[in-house]
């Protein structure tokens, strides 16, 4: 197992760690039993991700993918954030070891869960086909 220097950087100096007390959307995915939980807080204004914070319980890759996912959606429109893929997270981190791919999937799902929460809180209809869970760990709080 070897992490890229981008993964090590985002693990050692994670961006956007923390909470947003008056968040407009909160998404939590994963399960402590599986060893990964990601929680993402969104501040949305004018259809834009004005601020984003995360808390993660998990391995180095889980922390790095959370950090990178928050960086990739910050300042973007809600629609752009919703189109974030785990592939984009992996690419931005210069790759992940094969057994850590699921961390990038969780990061994508955490962002989507937070946006779905935002839609629900505002009585908005989530766009068709929003993937909320790929059942990558089979036992998470999204089920």
């Amino acid at each position: 197992m070897a992490y890229s220097s981008a993964v090590m950087d985002h693990f050692a100096n994670p961006r956007n760690v923390g909470k947003i007390d008056d968040a407009d959307g909160i998404g939590e995915v994963g399960n402590a039993k599986c060893g990964d939980i990601m929680k993402i807080y969104l501040k949305i204004d004018d259809n834009k991700i004005q601020d984003v914070k995360f808390n993660t319980f998990g391995c180095g890759a889980a922390i790095a993918t959370s950090s990178m996912a928050t960086e990739l959606i910050k300042g973007k429109t809600v629609e752009d954030a919703l189109s974030l893929t785990n592939k984009a997270v992996i690419e931005a981190l210069d790759g992940l070891p094969p057994q850590k791919i699921h961390c990038s999937v969780l990061a994508e799902e955490a962002v989507k869960a937070a946006i779905v929460d935002y839609y629900q809180k505002n009585g908005l209809e989530a766009p068709e086909g929003v993937k909320q869970c790929t059942s990558c760990c089979g036992d998470c709080t999204m089920h």
Partner: protein, 390 residues
């Protein structure tokens, strides 16, 4: 500061072992099976190493079979027992739930081939109970195999008691002594051990050398077809340098054992006292009945890999029973076996010391670890819930 605290994974080769090995590469480099003098010199070095190791184990030289390491010896021991058992229609094996995978996976395979396996509970203290071994032994039990000391949490099993019991019941007894050898006294005669596995690199010998001790009288089937090496049971030119290094390292470890253990266990206890004072952390396994060098902890609310990476950045080499290190999502089977819930077992840390670790190094770990735990907890949603008492 750089601190190597992963001696249960492997150790540095001692100067004594290295100096013993060097002539085997350049002077006594012959093939021990050759007739000529160069070969004979290598054969003499091999014989001397076998005799010395046998003496240290309280065994006989002809009961020692050199292998590539502990895993091979474990595989072989199970094969030996199953082959003997099959002749008497005995296909039942008793072991424990927290054996090394070299045993557990070998037993899984044996099960597929018709063996029946009973894995005993090791309780929350990480200790097998002799009376439970006794209760598990049946008419058709072909083998009892219990590790001498657990590799993740360091707990020492009641080997002499189990040996005595098995001898009385006439059941072959194997112990995987990979972590214990060179660190605690081992006496195959007094402890009634029929088979024992060890590897050199856990006591400052080289990697690639280990052995299986198999008591005379137990039939040993051929493990590796080939030449007449190891009395025809394991073909292949012997790894003379590594075997010579193993003998030198074991001799040194046994000679210094009392003195080293006193010092190392004191450092280990200092570490245990300090680390256990971190809130919601705990030492895994019985505090007293453990190897001098191993201490394994869990810290609630965090995952072990992050801990290892941050310790590494601070110059400390340690390990974890954590999933991530092995590439699987499951936490350590050892920690689950002593009853830890999955989510807690993910946050484990094993610190393993050797006689080469200093008090300054231990103090450095004690100073470095708590802020790292705090930092990871600071970004953990699990820790947040624990704090809130949810």
């Amino acid at each position: 500061m750089n601190v190597y605290a992963d001696n249960a994974a492997t150790t540095v080769v001692s100067q004594t072992a290295l100096q013993a090995m060097l002539p085997c590469f350049t002077e006594q480099y012959g093939n021990p099976s050759s007739v000529h003098e160069t070969g004979r010199k290598a054969a003499q070095a091999l014989d001397a190493a076998r005799a010395r190791i046998a003496e240290l184990l309280r065994a006989e030289a002809k009961e020692i079979y050199f292998t590539s390491g502990g895993t091979e010896a474990d595989n072989w021991a199970v094969q030996i027992a199953l082959a003997s058992g099959a002749k008497k229609n005995k296909r039942h094996i008793v072991s424990t739930a927290f054996e090394h995978h070299a045993i557990l996976h070998t037993l899984k395979k044996a099960e597929k081939n018709g063996a029946e396996v009973t894995l005993l509970d090791v309780h929350t203290d990480g200790l097998a109970r002799v009376e439970e071994v006794a209760a598990a032994i049946r008419e058709d039990t072909a083998l009892v195999t219990v590790m001498y000391a657990n590799n993740e949490i360091g707990t020492l099993q009641p080997i002499a008691e189990i040996g005595k019991l098995c001898r009385e019941k006439g059941v072959p007894f194997h112990t995987d002594a990979v972590q214990a050898m060179g660190h605690v006294p081992v006496d195959v005669a007094a402890q009634n051990i029929d088979m024992l596995s060890l590897t050199a690199h856990k006591f400052h010998g080289p990697k690639g050398a280990g052995l299986l001790y198999c008591r005379g009288g137990i039939p040993v089937p051929v493990f590796m077809e080939g030449g007449a090496q190891e009395r025809g049971k394991r073909g292949g030119t012997e790894n003379v340098p590594a075997i010579v290094g193993m003998a030198a390292a074991l001799e040194e470890a046994c000679r210094n054992m009392d003195e080293d253990n006193l010092r190392v266990s004191r450092l280990r206890d200092k570490l245990i006292d300090a680390v256990s004072s971190i809130p919601l952390s705990r030492l895994n396994g019985d505090r007293r009945r453990r190897l001098p060098g191993i201490a394994n902890f869990v810290f609630e609310g965090i995952e072990g890999e992050g801990l290892l990476l941050l310790l590494d950045m601070a110059g400390i080499s340690a390990s974890s029973g954590s999933a991530c290190t092995s590439g699987s999502l499951d936490p350590s089977h050892v920690l689950l076996a002593i009853g830890l819930p999955h989510e807690v077992a993910h946050g484990s840390l094993r610190l393993s010391l050797s006689a080469l670790n200093t008090e300054e190094e231990v103090d450095y770990i004690i100073k470095t670890l708590p802020p790292i735990v705090e930092r990871l907890r600071g970004m953990s949603p699990v820790w947040e819930r624990i704090k809130k008492g949810a």
